[in-house]
C-alpha cells in the first residue's frame, strides 16, 4: 500500500512537470493529420522558393540587358519573343522523336460485343497525349494538327475525332518531339495506356525517328473569360 502511494506521488509530480514545460497533448489521430499538414506546407515552401529563384534570375537578366550598353535591349526583347513563341507552339519545330500510328482494331468481335471496344476514341487519344507529355514530349501533333494545352480540343464527333476544330478519321498519326527512348517506352511499357488499348485489340505502332517535323498551331486565339 505504502509503495503504491509513493509511485502515485511520483507520477503526479512528473505529470505536473511535463505540463509546466509547455508540452501539448494530441491524440495519435490528430498527430497524424498534423504531420500530413506539415508535409503539404513543406512542399508548398519548395514551390515558393522555386518562384523566388526564378524571379531573381529574371530581374538579373532584364537589369543587365537594360544597363549594359553592349547589349541591345531591343534585340534582347526580340529573342525573348522568339523563345516565347516557340514555347507557345506558334512556330514549326523539328527534332528527334517518335511517330505513332493508332487505328481501329481488325479482330473479329465476340458474340454481342460492342464495336466500341475496337474503335479509337477521343479519350484514347487524350490519354496518349497525356502519356507523351509525362514522358517529356516538347511538342505533339496529331494528323498534322499541333496540340496546344487549353487551346486544342480533342473531341468525339461520331465516327471521327475533331482536333483543333478539324475532323479526322482513323488512322491517327501522332508525332512527338523529345527523348526518343522515353517516348517510345511510354507507348510500349507495360502499364502504359497504349498497352491497355492493345489489349482491347486497337492497333498501336510506334517508330522512332531522328527527325520529326511538327507544324505550328494556327488556330484562332481569343479569350472570352480570361481577363
Amino acid at each position: 500500500m505504502f509503495a503504491l502511494t509513493v509511485v502515485l506521488g511520483v507520477l503526479i509530480a512528473l505529470q505536473g512537470k511535463t505540463l509546466k514545460s509547455g508540452v501539448k497533448y494530441l491524440s495519435i489521430k490528430d498527430m497524424y493529420t498534423q504531420s500530413i499538414e506539415l508535409e503539404s506546407q513543406k512542399s508548398e515552401i519548395v514551390l515558393l522558393n522555386a518562384k523566388v529563384d526564378d524571379l531573381k534570375k529574371q530581374i538579373a537578366i532584364y537589369q543587365t540587358a537594360k544597363e549594359d550598353a553592349e547589349i541591345d535591349y531591343e534585340a534582347f526583347l526580340i529573342s525573348e519573343i522568339d523563345n516565347t513563341k516557340a514555347v507557345a507552339g506558334l512556330t514549326s519545330l523539328e527534332g528527334p522523336g517518335v511517330v505513332i500510328i493508332v487505328t481501329d482494331g481488325t479482330r473479329d468481335l465476340l458474340e454481342d460485343e460492342s464495336p466500341n471496344n475496337v474503335w479509337v476514341h477521343d479519350l484514347d487519344i487524350r490519354a496518349m497525349v497525356d502519356d507523351l507529355r509525362n514522358a517529356g514530349a516538347e511538342a505533339i501533333a496529331i494528323n498534322g494538327q499541333r496540340v496546344v494545352f487549353n487551346k486544342s480540343k480533342i473531341q468525339c464527333t461520331g465516327p471521327t475525332i475533331k482536333i483543333n476544330d478539324q475532323v479526322f478519321a482513323p488512322p491517327y498519326v501522332i508525332k512527338a518531339i523529345g527523348d526518343r527512348k522515353f517516348l517510345e517506352s511510354i507507348i510500349n511499357a507495360p502499364g502504359s495506356f497504349s498497352e491497355n488499348l492493345r489489349s482491347w485489340g486497337v492497333f498501336v505502332e510506334v517508330n522512332t525517328s531522328i527527325s520529326v517535323s511538327i507544324p505550328q498551331y494556327d488556330g484562332f486565339v481569343s479569350y472570352e473569360y480570361v481577363n
Partner: protein
C-alpha cells in the same frame, strides 16, 4: 478467496501487460518513428509554426520581386516607343503560353483523400489515381477552359501530372492533397461537363475520394513559374 483464483488473476494481468506493451511499441514504431508521443507532438507543432512563418516571408518577398521586375520593364518602355511595342508583343505571347497571371469566372474543384481511418490499415491515396486528375483536366479543356492550375501550379503545354513516389509532380514540383484545381471559362458549362451523370466527378467519387465543385465569380490563376527551354526541338524557319 481461494489461492487458485489469485493465481489466475495474476496470470491475466501479465498477459494484459504484455499486450499493452506491444500496443505501445507498435504505435511508437509506426506512427512516431521511435519518439515518445509528447516529444513527437512538440516537434510537429514547432516545425509547423516555423514553416508557416517561412511561407509568409516568402510570399512577401515574391510580391516585392514582382514589383521590381515590373518597374524595370516599365522604365525601359517609357524611354523608347519601339521597346514599348516589343514589350507589349512579348506580353501577348507570354499570356498565350500561360506565363502571366489571369483572372475571370470559372470553377474551383477540391479533391481530397477520404478521412483517415486508422483502424483499417489500407489507406486510399489520390496520388495513385492521378489518371483521374488527368481525365478531369482533359474534360475541362474540352469544355473550353482557358486557363487551369493545380495547387497554384499553372498547367501549360509541357506540364506533366505524374506519380513520383507517393506524390504527384506537376511542373516537376511535388504537390500534396487536397488538390485544388482552378479553371477559368464558362462556369456553368465547365460545371455541367464534369458533373454529367457517369461523368468524371461521379467517377472520382465512386473510386472513393472527396470531390467538391464550386462556381466562382472571380478566380485568379497564377503564372507559370519556371523557364522553358527546348532540348530536342529546333525551330524551322
Amino acid at each position: 478467496m481461494k489461492k487458485k483464483d489469485n493465481l489466475w488473476i495474476g496470470a491475466a494481468c501479465i498477459v494484459l501487460g504484455v499486450f499493452i506493451a506491444f500496443q505501445m511499441k507498435f504505435i511508437q514504431g509506426t506512427y512516431l518513428n521511435g519518439a515518445s508521443p509528447t516529444q513527437k507532438t512538440t516537434e510537429i507543432l514547432n516545425e509547423l509554426s516555423a514553416v508557416k512563418t517561412e511561407k509568409e516571408n516568402l510570399i512577401e518577398e515574391i510580391e516585392r520581386l514582382e514589383d521590381q521586375l515590373d518597374k524595370i520593364q516599365n522604365s525601359a518602355s517609357e524611354e523608347n516607343a519601339i521597346v514599348k511595342n516589343l514589350t507589349d508583343e512579348l506580353n501577348r505571347y507570354k499570356a498565350f503560353t500561360g506565363m502571366t497571371k489571369v483572372s475571370g469566372t470559372g470553377i474551383l474543384i477540391t479533391i481530397d483523400n477520404p478521412p483517415k481511418d486508422l483502424n483499417i490499415g489500407l489507406e486510399k491515396n489520390i496520388a495513385y489515381d492521378y489518371k483521374l486528375i488527368l481525365d478531369l483536366i482533359n474534360e475541362l479543356n474540352s469544355a473550353g477552359a482557358e486557363a487551369i492550375s493545380i495547387n497554384d501550379q499553372r498547367m501549360i503545354n509541357n506540364s506533366e501530372v505524374r506519380l513520383a513516389g507517393s506524390q504527384v509532380n506537376v511542373n516537376t514540383l511535388p504537390i500534396s492533397p487536397p488538390y485544388v484545381i482552378k479553371a477559368i471559362g464558362n462556369s456553368s458549362t465547365l460545371d455541367g461537363a464534369i458533373n454529367q451523370r457517369f461523368g468524371i466527378v461521379q467517377n472520382i467519387q465512386e473510386t472513393g475520394y472527396y470531390v467538391e465543385v464550386k462556381q466562382v465569380e472571380n478566380l485568379e490563376i497564377g503564372a507559370f513559374n519556371g523557364s522553358l527551354k527546348f532540348r530536342y526541338a529546333n525551330t524551322v524557319k
